[in-house]
Amino acid sequence: MRPEELKPEQFGGYPPEARRLALDYLETFRRLPLGFLPNLLREVIEFDFKFPVERRLLERELANLRSLSEQDLRVWFREFTEIKLSDSLEKLNWVTSPAQFVEQLSAHLWATHQMDAFRHAALGYADKLHAAVAPEPPASPRFGIAVIGQGVDVASETLFRRLRPYGAYFSAVNPENGLRHLLEAVAARANSNPAPYAHWYIDGGEQPPHASGVTLVSYGAMEPVRAALLARIRAETQKRGMGPEALRTLMAQLRPVDLGMVNGGDAVLNRFQIKLLTEGSGTQIFSTSFVQWAAREALRRAQPLTVLARFAPRQRQKPMNELLSPSPEQVEMDPAGSLMDADMGAYYNWINQQRLPGSEKSLFLAWFENHKEAVAISPTLPRGTFSTEAIDLRGILSWMT
């Protein structure tokens, strides 16, 4: 089927708000090339479960597409129309299952050596969209915090090597009440700039403490869901004919209720957390991967003002079948390896924060938990500097703002 043949009834399976949005823009969809449209529908079909910022951005993108003239459309989508699709791709039900279409499109692009062309087209579209739809500046400067090294006595390698060139490195931090100071800072920011999903606390360990106005995600709290998912994976991989692509498709279709999350509560956050496990790689088995990916996805999707990501020790590496089938015995942890993972994770958190609007004013703090090392990045702190002066985290926070 071609986009110009789209009919309203084909969106009957979409969630209510997504359906309303799709029907509102049906005429626009009919003018878009098949090499592009399913990627857009993949976002539209998730509209009911998107964060507020994502919703606004998608609506603005759609409005922009509707405003383009025929000539504009030719310019915007020339490279997409030059992508050669197969008959089998055109026959797929890309309206009902856009994500599966995109997955198969990706395989087709690789196999036909068109991935570079598609990538170029996609980057060009992103540039044009960025120019046409100005990004939303944050209500206040963003602040990312990474707490790493829980359970480690001595770091065996130099920490924060990748972050230090961008900020000030502190080697004499008083660690007393450090985590409490950071949590208080997060709570204060949530109070002064209250907004849904604007302030996050992500923990690689146990259920974090309740804080008003802060979105909480933790590896520990997801334990029953992870166990249900791993059991599902074990069962599915033993079925005849199941392959990695089919498994990935099946995981992408899982809903919170399928993995034992009760109906009700925060449907948007529940969906977000399920996706961390079904779309992330390693998030099901390693807490460090979970925290890094959760922070990345929170930043990319919710564009929060505050993210405190606290890494915890992950389990030691074992064969995949053992990691998928956790034994009731005590899980052996790898604190030293986890510190190295988290050090890189902190750097990635900062990179992902810098990809958002307002990056020139954003703040970032990484701290070796219960130790004396920290690095702070802020417009108020000169880059590539260090301090040996005794200071606590409250002092560093005051220097940053």
Binding site: G243, L247, S281, S289, P319
Partner: protein, 401 residues
């Protein structure tokens, strides 16, 4: 603030932005140039652009029929910043200090094919960018180097072997091309499969049986021309008990592969031996420490194999060793990926790698920055060993012929 002391900046976000603005070809050239300058300064080697081809030097005195080639794919994908960049050299001390000074080093090797490990390795082995499903148990569609070698030179089956990780590599020894048909390929050993069969799942061997990192939650079933368990004693002259006992002393699947390679070298002295290392690909689980551990181990094992080549009478003085990655991993700068974790964006960093060649007739300690293609390996091996890779799409690398 006055206690902040300036230190030199290693990198800057501006540099990253400038790099992102370069077109792919410029970026690939810059990457190769950086690699070249680093290799020159750190390993003290010369530029090869003005040197004559090395055929005028040596490999003299070795009849073509007695020449041997060992290919190591530095597999699993490793980036420059963790290897051939100033900050990465601590992870590859053996390559830097021992092998680079003895090798012809190509700084700019492009992989323009599909960035999946099986299909990319198949492309290396056929000299054609294969388009087979990376996750299916399928043979390459174009003739393999093993088939060219054996059919044209009338070599026995024992003269070409592949030792590979077991995630789908079991069909890599022989193509489905009708000009060759069954029986001309390499024998393939999958050490993990062998160990799994030898131990029947009993005993503490799990660390050696880790598999299928590219699809961390799924491992395909095996089929095809794999080395059967009963041949362990008949061909490798290894008792199951000895094999199990030695395996207990090893720490990773790649160590197991290298152990099997040594056995093959001693028992058969094959003229064409291909070993695919794969530990590095644990990166897909998102644990940076395990990725680095994999690189360090691959560095050590590569050097150990070179020492074995020099110490085995059947190989010493007549063997050319090629070491090359199948491809790299995603850049930290690409928002479409998640840095080191995957190789999904198809960006220039993930496509641009290196190759080193060591042995008689190879001018040692020379860096070549002319762009070559990863599919150039097969016709180069053909020129070196006396067969024609008639269907390969690559070109012989004249600098080492």
């Amino acid at each position: 603030m006055k206690n902040l002391v300036s230190m030199s900046r290693l990198v800057s976000l501006q540099m990253a932005k400038e790099r992102a603005q370069l077109v792919p070809r410029e970026l690939a050239r810059q990457l190769a140039w950086t690699r070249r300058e680093f290799i020159r300064s750190a390993a003290g080697v010369a530029l090869g652009a003005t040197l004559h081809p090395s055929r005028v030097l040596a490999r003299m005195g070795i009849p073509i029929a007695r020449r041997k080639v060992v290919v190591i794919t530095f597999g699993g994908g490793a980036r420059d910043q963790e290897t051939f960049a100033p900050e990465g050299q601590e992870n590859i001390p053996h390559l830097m200090r021992e092998l680079v000074p003895q090798s012809a080093f190509f700084t700019h090797v492009s992989n323009r094919g599909i960035l999946g490990h099986y299909v990319a390795t198949a492309s290396l082995a056929t000299g054609v960018y294969e388009t087979i499903n990376n996750f299916a148990s399928l043979p390459p569609e174009s003739p393999t180097v093993f088939e060219y070698f054996r059919k044209e030179l009338k070599r026995p089956a024992s003269d070409a072997w592949v030792v590979a990780p077991s995630n789908g590599f079991n069909r890599i020894g022989e193509s489905s091309h009708r000009s060759f048909g069954p029986g001309w390929g390499a024998q393939v050993i999958l050490p993990k499969y062998l160990l799994g069969a030898a131990t029947s799942g009993q005993g503490d061997y799990g660390h050696l049986l880790r598999d299928s990192y590219e699809t961390p939650l799924y491992a395909p079933e095996l089929s095809g021309n794999i080395f059967e368990l009963e041949q362990l004693e008949a061909i490798l002259k290894l008792s199951v008990a000895d094999f199990r006992a030695h395996a207990r002393t090893l720490s990773s699947p790649d160590e197991l592969s290298v152990y099997i390679v040594r056995q093959l070298m001693r028992k058969f002295a094959p003229s064409l031996l291909w070993v695919t290392l794969h530990d590095i690909d644990i990166a897909h689980a998102g644990a940076y420490s395990l990725y680095i551990e994999g690189i360090r181990r691959t560095d050590r094992l590569s050097a150990e194999l070179w020492k074995t080549i020099q110490s085995e009478p059947e190989y010493a003085g007549k063997t050319t060793l090629f070491i090359l990655p199948d491809f790299g991993r995603d850049s930290d700068d690409d928002a479409g990926g998640n840095g080191f974790q995957h190789h999904r964006t198809g960006d220039v960093i993930s496509r641009t790698t290196w190759m080193m060649a060591l042995g008689p007739g190879i001018r040692p300690g020379v860096v070549y920055d002319r762009p070559v293609d990863s599919i150039d390996l097969v016709p180069t091996l053909g020129s070196m060993m006396g067969f024609t890779a008639s269907l390969s799409m690559g070109k012989p690398i004249t600098e080492i012929l």
